[in-house]
Amino acid sequence: MSVIPAVETSREMACDHGALARGTLDALAEPARRPLRRAAALGVAAGLLWPAQAAALAWALAWALSGALSDAPTGSLWNGAAAPWIALCAFAALGLARAGLASAGQARAFRAAEGLVGSLRAGLVERAGRGSANGSAGPGALAALAGEKLDLLAPWLTRYGPARARAMVLPPAILALALSQSWAVALVLLVAGPLIPVFMALVGIAAREASRRQMVEVGALNDLLVDRLSALPDLRLLDAQDRAGADFARAAEALRARTMAVLAVAFLSSTVLELFAAIGVAMVAVWCGFSVLGVIGWGGWSGGVTPFAAIWLLLLAPEFFQPLRDLAAAWHDRAAAEAVAAELAALENGTSRPLLGAGAAAAPLDGPAAIRWRGLRRGSIRWPDGDIAPGERVALVGPSGSGKTTLLRLVAGLDRPDAGAIEVAGRALDDACADAWRARLAFAPQTPAFADESLRRILTDGRLGTNAEADAAALAPALAAAGAAGVVATLPRGLLARLGESGAGLSGGEARRILLARALHARPDVLLADEPTADLDAATAATVAEGLLALAATGATLIVATHDAALAARMDRVIAAAGR
């Protein structure tokens, strides 16, 4: 059941691919464009209610002003005794409507953003699983990108987009309303307003660069901390924990200084905006005051303005600037999102070497499991041509670094050669047949790493039996053949133990035998084992060798990369991986 969504996401991913590589935000947001636009429209509608709400308040106050001076208000609805209370009710009702519209817009934007980020995350996790770790970011950096960094796209989608829509509609609308009352106020707004985007652009450029640098460094600092923490026992043994700690303190302090540099620029930009907004509002307030006082006789359409208009203009002026300030605040969300997009693009365009095929379960490839390779080269390592017949037992030997492990990975389709070709079961090993080929083979690596799951799940390749006892019984022969039965017995919860990625205190030899047991349990046609007897005493090594040969006796091909002369001697043939 859980496999089906993954297939769907891989299709989604395919259409995101180009957008990711371009690294532009608009391309990233394209799938959610329409719901985001609707969300922004609700925000704009809420903003447009403010002038009406402000008029209601201004009307009530203007009534208080005139009512206080002339004790006999006329009886009309607009300026009778009930007028201020009607205005008050209108003010409250419009305010509630405004809050409701804004909230509805935010809810829609959130839903759209979550959906988009979720599908980007699905694509990223898919590629992280399929890409080669050698050429790309480390697991910590990938996890950070898939986790909290992708989340940084959400504020950009939910804040920047709506803020931009408001900034495009509301200031011109308010300017027009202000112009209807006073050209002087409109002039003040017109002069102060457009300067804001100019400053914003200038400061924004600097902020973006600084923010991008910082994003990269936060990832590096977290990787550094993780790297240090996992090496702590060794650091203690070297008495180097203080030096490593001091190193780390320096890196952390440097990060703080750089973060502050980013923030100082970011805060400066918003301060510039606030300053302009504040000066604009203050000028409007002062002009209005002078105008209603009668000191100034110009600026309105017929001399000064009425008290109602003055109060209304005073309430409108801050809202002229507010969308621009919101946009400026969201500018940094945009900068952060751009940095994430760039990181995604770097990952997309990086020299990753994805494994062949999808790594999925597949029907086994037909035909006898013959293996041959011709003209094979990977990096600086070249291998002499080779042929391995079905059922053959072969030892790969050679000094460390001569390419034994790489050859095994190439044969398993876990890596791609730079030159040359590999044929398996009579056909070229490629993306189309790699999964089917791997369904026939098992791979026991030299440096084991475990996914975050129980030993029982690891050993059965995720195909759990009816209960733990049944699995224990089914696994017992393979564990015994790999010399790993004792290893499982000493683990706190036996087969239910979770090894985690570091192996939960298992020694290298123990972890390797666990994975060898898994390989034997899978009853493959071809077994690739990398140093299966390394770290083992002679007796255990002999047990493991017997287990391997017993599998070979059932007709399976055995390819063993080894330094162990005793093991190599028990194979049919030795291939020297005279690399470089």
Binding site: P5, L61, A64, G67, A68, L69, A92, G95, L96, A99, S103, Q106, A107, G118, A122, V125, A128, P139, A143, D223, V226, S230, P233, L235, L237, L238, D239, D242, G245, F248, A252, L255, M260, F267, T271, E274, A278, A282, C288, F290, L293, G294, A310, L314, P318, A358, G359, P399, G401, F443, F450, D452, G462, S502, E510, L515, E531, L536, D537, H563
Partner: protein
Amino acid sequence: MRAILAVFRAILRAERAAFLRGAALAVCVAAMGAALLGLSGWFIVAAGAAGLAGAGAMFDVFRPSAAVRFLALGRAAARYGERLLTHDATLRALTALRVRLLARLAAAPFAKLERLRGAQALNRLTADVDALDGAPLRLILPVAAGAATQVAAGLALGWLAGPAIGLWVAGLHLAGGGAALLIGAQAARAPARRAERALQALRARVVGLVRAREQLAAAGRLPAQIAHALDADRRRRTDRARLDRIERRAGLALDALTLAAACGALALGLAAVASGTLDPARAALGPFVALALAETLAPLRRAVADYGRIADAAGRVAPELGGGTAPASPAAAPGRVAGAAALALDRVRFSRPGAAAPVLAGLSLRLAPGETLALTAPSGGGKSTVLALCAGMLAPDAGAVRLFGRDLAAWPEPSLRATVAMVPQRPALMRGTVREALRLAAPRADDATLRDALETVALWPAVALRGGLDLALGDRGAGLSGGEHRRLALARALLRRPAAMLLDEPTEGLEAATAAKVLAGLRAALPDAAFMIAAHRQAEVAWADRILPL
């Protein structure tokens, strides 16, 4: 909340002055904002009244208009200072927090360090510390500054526009804001915690997925494991949607609160004007100030959303901050007892926690300086345990481990580490150059010394081809083969020039010729050192002076 306060106190201790300045400026900013709008409203209405009365010439326009300009500019400046000060103080405190955590963990027992190697523990730690900057910046400072501003605004309104209006505006903001914060934070706590757990699960699964990718692919399990990782994200999105709903409802409630405060103030003002007890300009103060106070409520919405995450992180980090220092180790270096064995075990017993049978049941051995002892046993027979006991990584259940005649527990950590070097079976390397890896062991060694050490372990030729000491290693030493990795760790231990060297299967992954060369090199480089090795290869056993089967 108690944990948040504990973390905040720790942060405050580090940067008290900066925080107090920041808090004072925060109150200034909000108060000046309220004063600006209130004064502007009053000014226009009062000017209007004077204008209507034909008393324009008598009205003092200059003081109010100067005050409006002063408040406008002063507020922007105060805002800048406040932001800069509080962020800098928080970042300083959090940097100190990270460094302090690392230092405390470095002194933790070895068993805890082993547990810390897991991705889950590591992520949690880094993410928690990251989350804690929210405690002062998004929770405590804005809430405290907002409340202070509301009280001040209430007093000012009470004085200028009458106690009823002052009480209404301030009381509603304080009570309503407090209620929204308490109710919202309470409701958001559980989903915030679950969302965070799901994020950690997502991260741990992505890390496991990337690390074990090849094994998963070989077993045809990659898509299933990818779906497993994304399942955590699905759970997280459910809880994030819940959080968003709570946050939006809090926002709606706060908007309604501002509206109620402004309407109430207006109604009270209008009634007072109608009854002739208040002039219209002062009546305008109430609604204008109430609208301006919306600014003090806005951070509450964010605080509601963040509270759960911050409380969760603080709950885990606070215990690590509590007093107490590294476990005491003896201050003075004990003299070596003349003629004593370099290492001696005396009837040492050791069992793993919860295990039925002991790993070691009364082991005794002696190792003289310059001697080489090979421990042999089937895999899992306790060789590594003996080495860990000799290195002080484990403590025996009974019996004694002596180094040059003194009990291991009597050695101060630095002299112990200077005397004993150990290369574990899976030594950890870190990101950095080969030079940096070696300098960890010998900070003052020059390049020639480092190169000699690499020559000794037959690693220099391979390293020299790829950039020499500047060869850059990836995370956990990625880029070296298994045998190279181990030899680099051997060279690192060698540079310590220890009097006793403990090696756990040192030549694993090396072909026989190289293995012999490495072992001979080690002995030649440290002729007087005592070597104890956990051995299973013939080359290692043959190299030893004496063999002890466990």
